[in-house]
Point group: C2
Chain length 630, copies 2
Amino acid sequence: MKHRYLENLPLPQAKDRFFGRLRDVGFEARTEAVDTVQACGRITAKAVYAAICAPHYNASAMDGVAVNAAVTFGASEKTPLTLTPADYIVVDTGDPLPDGTDAVIMVEDLIDAPDGCYTILAAVRPWQNVRQVGEDICMGDMIAPCGTVLTPALCGALLAGGVTTVDVLKKPVVGIIPTGDEIVAPTATPAKGDIIEFNSTVFRGMLEGWDADVRVFPITKDDKALLRAVLEEALSRCDMVLVSAGSSAGRDDYTSEIIASLGTVLVHGIAIKPGKPAVLGEARQKPVIGLPGYPVSAIVVMEEIVRETVDLYYARTPKAPQIVEGVLAKQIVSSLKYTEYVRVSLGKIGDTLSVSPLPRGAGVISSFTKADGMLVIDQNCEGLLAGERVQVRLLCDPAAIEQTLIVTGSHDPLIDEVRDLLKKSGAAFRVNSTHVGSMGAIYAVKGGLAHLGGIHLLDTETGVYNKSYVKKYFPDGGAALVKGVGRVQGLMVKKGNPCGIRSFADVARVRYVNRQRGAGTRILCDYLLQKNGIAPQDVDGYDNEEFTHTGVAALIAAGNADTGLGILSAAKIYDLDFIPICTEVYEFLVDEQYLDDPMVQAFFAVLRSEECRSRLEAMGGYLLEEEATC
Amino acid sequence: MKHRYLENLPLPQAKDRFFGRLRDVGFEARTEAVDTVQACGRITAKAVYAAICAPHYNASAMDGVAVNAAVTFGASEKTPLTLTPADYIVVDTGDPLPDGTDAVIMVEDLIDAPDGCYTILAAVRPWQNVRQVGEDICMGDMIAPCGTVLTPALCGALLAGGVTTVDVLKKPVVGIIPTGDEIVAPTATPAKGDIIEFNSTVFRGMLEGWDADVRVFPITKDDKALLRAVLEEALSRCDMVLVSAGSSAGRDDYTSEIIASLGTVLVHGIAIKPGKPAVLGEARQKPVIGLPGYPVSAIVVMEEIVRETVDLYYARTPKAPQIVEGVLAKQIVSSLKYTEYVRVSLGKIGDTLSVSPLPRGAGVISSFTKADGMLVIDQNCEGLLAGERVQVRLLCDPAAIEQTLIVTGSHDPLIDEVRDLLKKSGAAFRVNSTHVGSMGAIYAVKGGLAHLGGIHLLDTETGVYNKSYVKKYFPDGGAALVKGVGRVQGLMVKKGNPCGIRSFADVARVRYVNRQRGAGTRILCDYLLQKNGIAPQDVDGYDNEEFTHTGVAALIAAGNADTGLGILSAAKIYDLDFIPICTEVYEFLVDEQYLDDPMVQAFFAVLRSEECRSRLEAMGGYLLEEEATC
């Protein structure tokens, strides 16, 4: 087995090398003529001039009568003047001004007189109430310079100016080739080892947002001849090609070799994380980009390289990211080997913009679904401290950040249900929820980084939940406990309980899966171990940590562990058996200054609603009135 | 002829009445299932939960060998350990972990040994380099609540979670019925009296931006029975219907009557300007909106009413407009009868956001093409003063405002050409140009409202252009004159010069069209009148004012006037004859502090480029080295 090393080229050099070559080979948009009525959103290829005036004739601007203004001169309240039918012609708004007339008297200003006459009390000036030729647009005027994005109003102006077809930049056709022996089309029931091909859907959505047309080629196996044939086909049909996966240097990573066989590999390996194993090449005067298989890596390369490739095609200035400054909620360690891209969620707490790093794994597409921004950490930076002021590239609507309820703490699916019910009720704010465990909730609320947090912290000396922790961490007050739910914690085991687990003491003889440090369930585990006289090091799997109840359940269902502590609803989803251990008090810690915040109030109103209650009942394991029994 | 009066209902009441009824009749989105790969941009109809875990099996996170971690325990640099082929199985990234293994050793950490063995210098922990089941997404986890716009990443997460179809809100189908006897489909050669139908293109573009599907019905004549039939057809096929034009109370305005015959007219006439003659109705439990025929009026009603109707359909919170504060460049008088909507262009001059009102006519679609923002003037406000701080609703990218070169002053098509050439050269900034005349340029530069302005101001005492004006208005310096062009001014007349005009003195005996006060060409006209001993009041049409050279040319071509002063290029566009009068010096007044501004420098670099020179030569009448001869 051989291992090859990639380059580790800093991003700016990688861009220079790649985009320099693309410029050299004349990579740019062609022009096509489209019907103006279909041109909205397109980009003009050259300046567009009005072909006719708008209006193109002298038009009445009002409903009324057209006259020669001269016949009205002298009319006033004191010297009314009467127009005979020979003096006027009735016109509606938009009618051409009849020959011999040069003004319009509004219908409101006409007083009926006998024999079809009208009396008027004021004169009109020449061209009064007339839209003269060219009032809006004059023939020959430039309506839009080249490179203009055609808005609806611009399309209207073009049509008004007699421009019925317009030369626009042809959209680039971007071919996407998903590759890999293990890759299968999206399915709800993939076989073991099958990887669902979703990257092309992500890329397509991004590319269409950048004004590209997308053609997704069939999934292609890791076969050099096949891959080469598909790439040649794609190059003949597209303006640029993305090869998804196979961009690294493993046994079946052929992207680089195949690009080299058809053109030139300019860069293989960029000093960014995630996203390092990218290939930037050129073949047939077209860009060919090998994207990493891991979705988050690929998205970073899409944002950093592919987006700018499309901009280069259109010869448009890359859109500068909107930058916001906030306070980092959690320390981040970073490598000196790479520029690092950390997805973050954002929310405003009081006057502070709180910046919470999301999970950093390259395979964790879910982290992107929650990302409000991207923190870019310079290659020369070893890390950032909690509380540090940081600049973040915005990925969401800035207005949304102002209207965000930040809920953190212990994982419980009920928070997602409340979030859904709030949306359903038409709440004008959003809920950002993260799982940092019960202790994390205390630190976040204390640090002003969350409005509220779910906690279930057992005082192992008194057996009472939460209260003593609040007393300890908020000795001067400032935080309130708001009633949440009682919930049953228990040991989840495979259907039929194959290991015959009866009580917590049995965890010492099977493979356990634990929760992360700071989680209320972890504290409960430690308490139960102590109570049963079991040392943590004697528990197989004590260091195998998951962040959520469903995460624990998933590992038991998969056979990675035999049991773990969690809540009934998680066990039910995975069809696991459940051995109840205790009922605990899951409450919400709220910064007192936000108790009256309308978002916080709405959150609790929904939590106490009938609909939420019935959802919790359906999920099972919640006790809406119960006290703890541990 | 009868005149009916409309209501003048304040906008909030109009909305309450209209949206209240729509809520009462249950106007809301239906649900449809779509393939997740096609769902990008759609809105979830209900919460979506993961159907499977991602990964759905324990997968190798690296290229390397899978092992049972226990066999590696004890390996270190001091105590290397050798794995026999029985101890490992080769895996690539993404491969399922073989039975009996629970960790992966990276290829980089394997040292080749004889007989297919590998030596390792470190142990691996159980589950090290393994993506355990559910690492990214756990089955049963809520991936998105209802009402979520599906981003590319969310679509990826849904597919990863085994969700191959997703319930989304059906897009509303909005029918547009263009009406009017005088309306014709877009054409480059409309007959006199024909009005080009471009409003539906504008509406379609706006609606598609609000996530609606659009169906444009054929242009329908002002015939009650016909209109009623088309509206019935539209109601049967669409979720809401817009009737374009005929919404007022004139002879052929049937919209209100026809809506009433099929349902209920809730509002007819809103206290907004432009946009007053709108009809808001309901028929067959669907909204029917009569839009004014004037495009600007219609766009305001689209923004204020139709957009929110679509939001109501989707049950989404209307997007709050982004508000910026700036300084008003010009006084605005407003009526107490209406809330007024004034389009403005925006640009940053130093630290000041300059807000320039655009032409306010309801028929002036071109004003919307230049609009960066909308100034909403309260009904109770009689006007706003120049220099007043105002709040503006943003209609453009806020970043664009920071990168705007503001050019104002005398109208000359060369500014548009420079603007186009700058775009073509890939300039990262935009040019906002307005025509306020040469004197307007002086006031704007002096007031810090423009970077530079084109002027051609004749000192009638010395015959020298521009210099004395700069001296007078900038007695303490602060503004520089930068060389522009010489250009020939002359009298434009119809082909063949039917009125036999020979010199400027002839304007006294024909119909003249003038330029607006403050225009350099107006000052030239006044100078020439004085020189020829002609009193302004003796010039027929002296008060008929246009803002541009092409505007003057258009009126001469249309026969509204016999002659007017202007430049050769305008005469050529309209195929007019041109009687040269003098050559003048068109220069640029620049606020000295911006002389080194890269945008200003780029502007002049392009102005002096070969390409610009050849364009000016093609246009005719420009003298690139000449001095004035007046």
